[in-house]
Amino acid sequence: MTDIETLRQVWQEQEGADAVPPLMREALMAIVEKRARASRSRVTQRLRRELAIYAAMTAGAIIVLVAKAPSDWPLGIALLLMFFGATGGVMFFKIRALQQVQLEGTLRDSLTRMIGIINGWMTSYMIVYMVVIGSSGALVLVTLARKWGIGPLWWLAAAACVSLILWSYTSGRQYMRREFEGHRDELQRVLEDLEAV
C-alpha cells in the first residue's frame, strides 16, 4: 500500500466486490418525497420559532400599550402586526433560500453561493431582530411619554430600553455564532483551501 496504483486497485476491487442492486422507482421517490417534506417542515419550524421569539419580545410593548394607552392600543397593535407580516416575509424568503440552494454548479460556485446565502441570512436576521427590539422600545417610550411626560421615571424606562437593546444585540450575535457562523467559517475554509495553489 505504498503507491497510488495499489491504492487505486484496492479502491476499485472494493467497488467491484460490492453488489449494487438496481434502484426501485417507488422506494427512491419515497425517499425524495420524505426529504422534500422534511425540508419544507424545517422552513416552517424555523419560521415559527423566529416569530415566537419576536412575539415574546413585543409582548412587553403590547402590555404597556393596553395598560397605559387604552384608546391607542388598536393602532399600536395594528402597527406591530404589520411589522410582523414584513418580518415573517423576510424571514421566510431567507430561510427558504438557505434550504433550496442549488448544487449543480461547480464545488467552488456552490461554496461561494452557500457562503453568500448564509451571510445574507445573518445580516437580515440581525437587522430584523434589532428593528423589532428597537421599535418595541420606541413604542413603549412614546406611550410612557404621552402618559407621564418626560420625567425621571421616563428616563429610567429609557435606560432600561437601551440596556435591553444592547443585551439583545449581544444575544443576537451569540445566536448567529451558534447557529450559522461555525458552518459559514467551515465552508469558507474549504473554499480558501480549494482556491489555494
Binding site: I4, D18, P21, Q100, L103, L107, D109
Partner: protein, 166 residues
Amino acid sequence: MNRQAQQAEFVALIEPHQRLIRKVCRTFAFTESDRDDLFQEVLFQLWRAYPRFEGRSKVTTWMYRIAVNTAVTLLRRTRRLPLEVTLDQLTREPHSAETVPNDDRVAVLDAAIGSLAPVDRALVLLHLDDLSYREMSEILGVSENVVGVRLNRAKARLLKAARRER
C-alpha cells in the same frame, strides 16, 4: 411529461451510475447511518436539480458535482432524519455479508481518505475513479493546472496517511 414518466426517466438516468453516488458517500461519510443519510440527501438533490439538467455536461460529471457539493456544503446543516426507508429497502436485493470483502487494505484506504481535508478527499475520489483533469476541473471549478498541482499534493498526503495507518 407526466410525473410518473419524469420519475421513470430520472431513475433510468441515475440507475446505471448509482455506484458513483455510493463512492462519494464512502469518501465523505464513515458510518453506515451517515452513508445512508448522505445517499438519500444526494438522491434528493439530484431529483431537485433534474428539471434543469440539459445534458450539456456528461451525466456522470453532473452527478459527481451534485454529490460532492452535497457532501461538502450541505450535510453538516441537514438535520439527521430517522431512516425509515433504508438502503436495503431501496434495492431489490439486500447486501449479503459475503459480498463485502473483509480486507484490512480497504480499512487502511478508507481511514487514509478520511484523514484528508474535504478538497483533497474530493480530488482523491475523482482520481481513483479515473476522471481526467478536465473533468475534475469541471466538477471543482478550478483550472486544470491547479487540479494537477493540488492532486499531486493530495496523493502525497494520502500515501503518507496510508503508511501511517498500516
